[in-house]
């Protein structure tokens, strides 16, 4: 009886919905967020995941690959989620609003993840360059495509560089997220998207 329960528990944590890889990624996100990437020891991650040091290396080639995986996985999910969300929306303004909300909603839902995205991933040009080559550029492209659509439809001023407008919008949202992390007082992050979009849309709209 007791024996079988123990076995079940073991099974659940070993082969259940939460694989060990996923488990380690989550633990790493927590550890990176609390100590910073460079101050985090692989041993810390292992302990947080309740796993031996060596086990980490069965799933990841290196400490760096863990950070990469956190980024890749979440970025891919975010972009997919964003595409889906605007699939049958027509108005470019509304599309941007939804993306912005999603952006802050996702980060606001997981402070540790937000710290990794806003702080740890920025901590080296090497990372920044690799990341921008990867999913990050794709995200900016998504925003840009929508903006250009809005320019064609006459909603946004045509003399503005869509690329630059994209950076402005992203920068504003990004700063909301970063500030939210740093500030001690806890407020809701996602509603900030409305204010940002108000100012931004007002700033770029035609006539």
């Amino acid at each position: 009886m007791i024996h079988s329960v123990v076995i079940m528990a073991k099974r659940a944590s070993r082969n259940g919905t939460t694989g060990k890889r996923e488990l380690i990624l989550r633990a790493a996100t927590r550890v990176f967020a609390r100590n910073g990437y460079f101050n985090s020891k692989v041993a810390d991650i292992a302990r947080a995941a309740d796993v031996a040091d060596g086990t980490v290396y069965l799933y990841f080639k290196s400490k760096e690959e863990i950070l990469h995986s956190i980024f890749d996985q979440n970025m891919a999910a975010a972009i997919a989620s964003g595409r889906e969300l605007i699939a049958n929306v027509k108005d470019p303004r509304e599309k941007l609003r939804r993306i912005a909300k999603l952006h802050l909603e996702r980060l606001g839902a997981d402070r540790d993840l937000a710290v990794v995205f806003q702080v740890e991933l920025r901590g080296s040009t090497k990372f920044m360059e690799e990341f921008s080559a990867a999913g990050f550029a794709e995200y900016l492209n998504l925003l840009r495509t929508i903006f250009e659509e809005g320019q064609r439809s006459g909603a946004f001023r045509k003399n503005l560089s869509a690329k630059v407008m994209t950076k402005i919008l992203f920068g504003a949202l990004d700063e909301m997220a970063t500030n939210w992390i740093i500030s001690q007082r806890s407020y809701k992050l996602e509603p900030m998207a409305d204010v940002v979009m108000d100012v931004f849309l007002n700033g770029v709209s035609a006539e």
Copy 2:
């Protein structure tokens, strides 16, 4: 004759306007920008400054203090410069325009410094918190004060949170700088301030 020139040169680099402390700070900025803070060895900085390892510790308590000093010194200079620049400007819009231009001009003038500010200083929550407590908050306050002035004068919409507007503006400028660093193609950074201010002022202006 020649001798005295050499002596002068030595003096200049040793006790003149450029003290050893300054020399080390500049070298560190270069090294941090190229390798990242955590990957930079104190020995690298010493070599870059053409100084022995130990000498670095005659001027700085630790590697971390070097990074702090780079931030403190430049931030203080930037704020002073900004205050001076708007001293006898009346129009809040124009004040913001000038600050924005100064912001991007300073970063655009020294790529290494820009990398340290945009990338290396963001790489840990610990730093971020300390830095925001220091000069960074003061910079945001400067922006906010101007914005509030503009609200009182009726130039900007009064129902907007000055604090949030400040973050939006800062975030947009910040992203311009970060993108400028990452992008390979070299363009002028400072003119981007005009575009940002166009959209921002348009977005927040009353009526």
